[in-house]
């Protein structure tokens, strides 16, 4: 059996940031990821990030990914790829598969940074080839450099829908429209403004009625919704598109935390059931930490800060950092994190997080 001090599950922004903090403090850390490449979703994010200098604002996501990888390499962090973690055991043993065989890794601390998955949307025709997650399309155009289709309908006006619509056009596709069931745009206005300038209409209070086609999407029918979310008869419109991208939110990938017996709280603002955690990102199971989207769906910038927090807390718990030094580091990280959780978009998440952490502290008392 392999041994390590800290096992980090997931080599996305949260996991890599956590590993970097542990390694910086002199700890032995192993990152395990099911994908062929590290970086999680950062390498498909080709837009410039928001925030301020300390959040690497103005830097494109994939460059941030490159920086994180360079840092893990410099610190000698072990990153195991093509290694899906399929089980966690109560004695903090990680079961993963690599190269066609099962391997067990025993760790003193575990950081679960498994990320999130896109929510599906079911409608007539939603199983036709050409209907896909916006994230799937984004991976195809920006990582694999292949267009999934020529003309696209985007469903969902959150930042994912707005950004992927823009990036589809950057890759050479045509976006026929973006529709949103709610009465206002969910994501940042500046992202919406970019696609409007490119001539893409945004239809609010609209949903998809069905996708049509024999072997793949050939057209899609959209319909307006009234104030009770009911389709308005006669408002149907057919759009000639070959691709429908679905961007209707994300759900944290929490299976491993359930397996470990972590207590959960239901917080709709964070994507549903999320493991309770304290200010150090530690769950109700001692020695098991979480970071990133699994602890509530947010953005890569906050995921990295949560990872740093979890990594620092692990290092402290292992005695690699003294209490004073750890507190200093964690205070700086929390300040950076809170700066991102302000304003009309961030405040809801901050309140949801506070509620989640409040719930956890209550449980401990």
């Amino acid at each position: 059996m392999k041994m390590t001090q800290v096992a980090v599950i997931g080599a996305g922004p949260a996991g890599l940031a956590a590993a970097i903090e542990v390694a910086r403090a002199g700890g032995l850390v192993t990152v395990i990821d099911e994908n062929a490449r590290p970086g999680g979703q950062l390498f498909k994010q080709i837009h410039k990030f928001f925030g301020s200098r300390e959040h690497r604002a103005g830097v494109r996501g994939f460059h941030i990914g490159e920086q994180l990888l360079a840092e893990t390499e410099r610190l000698g962090v072990e990153v195991l790829l093509d290694s899906p973690v399929y089980a966690l055991f109560p004695d903090r043993t990680v079961g993963y598969v690599h190269g066609g065989r099962e391997i067990f890794l025993k760790a003193e601390k575990i950081v679960i940074a498994a990320g999130a998955a896109e929510n599906p949307l079911a409608f007539p025709g939603s199983t036709l080839p050409g209907v896909m997650g916006a994230g799937a399309a984004q991976t195809m155009i920006n990582v694999h450099r292949v267009l999934p289709g020529k003309k696209v309908l985007m469903i969902g006006s959150g930042n994912v829908g707005l950004i992927v619509a823009y990036q589809l056009m950057q890759a050479g596709a045509d976006v026929a429209a973006l529709i949103e069931a709610a009465t206002q745009i969910g994501g940042y206005g500046v992202h919406a403004a970019k696609i409007r300038r490119a001539g893409v209409p945004i239809h609010l209070s609209h949903t998809v009625k069905r996708a049509l086609g024999k072997d793949h999407v050939e057209s899609v029918e959209i319909v307006a919704l009234d104030s009770h979310w009911q389709p308005v008869a006669g408002s149907e419109k057919i759009l000639g598109v070959d691709t429908v991208c679905v961007a209707v939110g994300l759900t944290p990938l929490t299976e491993l935390a359930w397996l470990m017996g972590c207590e959960f709280a239901f917080v709709p603002g964070l994507g549903g059931h999320v493991p309770k955690h304290d200010l150090n990102m530690e769950t109700t199971v001692p020695g098991v930490f979480i970071a990133g989207d699994i602890s509530g769906v947010e953005e890569a910038s906050t995921a990295m800060e949560e990872g740093r927090l979890a990594g620092t807390a692990c290092a402290e718990a292992l005695g690699l950092l003294d209490g004073q030094k750890a507190l200093e580091l964690k205070t700086v990280i929390r300040e950076r994190m809170n700066a991102l959780r302000t304003g009309p978009f961030g405040e809801g998440r901050r309140r949801a997080k506070e509620c989640l952490i409040g719930l956890s502290l209550e449980g401990q008392a």
Partner: protein, 172 residues
Amino acid sequence: MKSGIKYTGIPSEEELRASPGAPSRERLEQGPVAFIECVQDIPCNPCEEACPFGAITVGEPITNLPELHGDKCTGCGVCIAQCPGLAIFKVHLHYTETTSLVEFPYEYYPLPRKGDRVPCGDRQGKYVADGRVVSVKNAKAHDGTAVVGVEVPKACYLEVRTICRKEWSRHG
């Protein structure tokens, strides 16, 4: 239909008027100036650091709207490519007797070239007028965000914000 960025994805006239990032009419008369169309309190401040003259302030918290100080802004336009939201433009109202110059960020392929005649569009991508490309800045520091300057008829300096990409590529 409701207007405003939350409903249309386009900042309304009222939102722009109320925004501390939009230059005054007097300032526009005086020469080239940045035009910041950032009207939501999002956590972001690279524009503040981008300006070498201290003409943009965001301060704390970083969700504050950027404020443009018209007296300090020289209209150099270096802030345009630094805005992650692509929400900063530059307007030179009296470029010539009859034309204005508008600079905007542009991240599509292919880039226009200096001297090209291009169909120019407004905030909803609708054709406004033909323009002449006078500059295409794409320094390494821009990291792919090119800044395109177009000379357009004076009447449309407040409207033109992009190139009508599809119409343009159709013309070859």
